[in-house]
């Protein structure tokens, strides 16, 4: 009996490391189906990973007000680029709209992270890489491939100075 078991064991070993190359590279449908099952489990784990990351390591929020520049540095219809140091450095644009209002948006396009710019002639924010357009007042997508609106900051004007803060009411 023991000898028989040993024989079976050695046969299994030979199955895993066959001499013929054709046998070594052959993937049976049974093995392929098992691999698909493994892949399915891995995808579920990937989904769990996203939840764990967003609960345990949420992206840092902007605390308090941050000074950007003096009001007279950006004329109406102008744009100023600035950076905020959170858990990583994030580029933003400050826009002085023609009607005198101020807006601040993240500069990275939500499509492929190209740098967006304000086009005063059209009163829109343009992503030059793939011709995506965002509304300069709300940051919502007007045209093109971007899937989401641009993340926005609140702009606060105090004594001729411009500050930005985390958006309070996301609408």
């Amino acid at each position: 009996m023991k000898e028989k078991n040993q024989e079976i064991f050695s046969e299994t070993w030979k199955d895993d490391f066959p001499i013929q190359q054709q046998e070594a590279v052959h993937v049976s449908r049974r093995e392929f189906a098992k691999f698909l099952g493994l892949l399915s489990g891995t995808l579920a784990l990937g989904n769990a990973g996203i939840i764990i990351k967003s609960i345990l390591f949420p992206s840092q929020k902007l605390k308090g007000e941050h000074f950007v520049c003096n009001q007279n540095e950006v004329p109406a219809g102008g744009m100023k680029q600035f950076e905020l140091q959170l858990d990583k450095t994030i580029p933003y644009i400050l826009i002085h709209l023609k009607d005198g209002q101020w807006r601040a948006f993240e500069q990275k396009c939500t499509h492929l992270s190209c740098a967006v710019r304000y086009v005063p002639e059209m009163d829109k924010i343009q992503c030059p890489c793939h011709n995506g357009y965002f509304d300069a007042r709300s940051g919502v997508v007007l045209q093109g491939p971007p899937p989401r609106p641009l993340p926005r900051l609140d702009v606060i004007l105090k004594d001729g100075k411009v500050f930005v803060a985390e958006m309070k009411n996301k609408t």
């Binding site: 079976i8 046969e11 299994t12 199955d15 049976s28 449908r29 049974r30 392929f32 189906a33 098992k34 698909l36 099952g37 892949l39 399915s40 489990g41 995808l43 579920a44 990937g46 989904n47 769990a48 996203i50 939840i51 990351k53 967003s54 609960i55 949420p58 992206s59 939500t110 899937p147 989401r148």
Partner: protein, 85 residues
């Protein structure tokens, strides 16, 4: 003497083939849905939308369980291979 199983196998020689193809197609279908879920979860997590991430995880987890359950029904290897062992 031939039993019921042997008669069945003789009457439907392609059964193993059909079962195997069916299971593989179902698994590919399940994985396609899971990839879609994963893509949605990533896209929404970027916007700090945790609800979608949780809903897609539950869906993906149930689908993974279904695929494990399906694997149990893979037809056995052909008899020739068993004899070799």
């Amino acid at each position: 003497m031939s039993d019921f199983r042997e008669s069945q196998n003789k009457a439907h020689p392609n059964k193993t083939n059909t079962l195997m193809t069916g299971i593989i197609l179902l698994l590919i279908f399940i994985i396609s849905i899971q990839i879609w879920f994963l893509y949605s979860a990533l896209n929404n997590a970027l916007e700090r939308n945790l609800d979608i991430a949780i809903a897609t995880f539950l869906g993906s987890f149930v689908l993974a369980l279904v695929s494990f359950w399906l694997i149990r029904y893979l037809p056995d290897p052909r008899e020739g291979k068993i004899k070799r062992k």
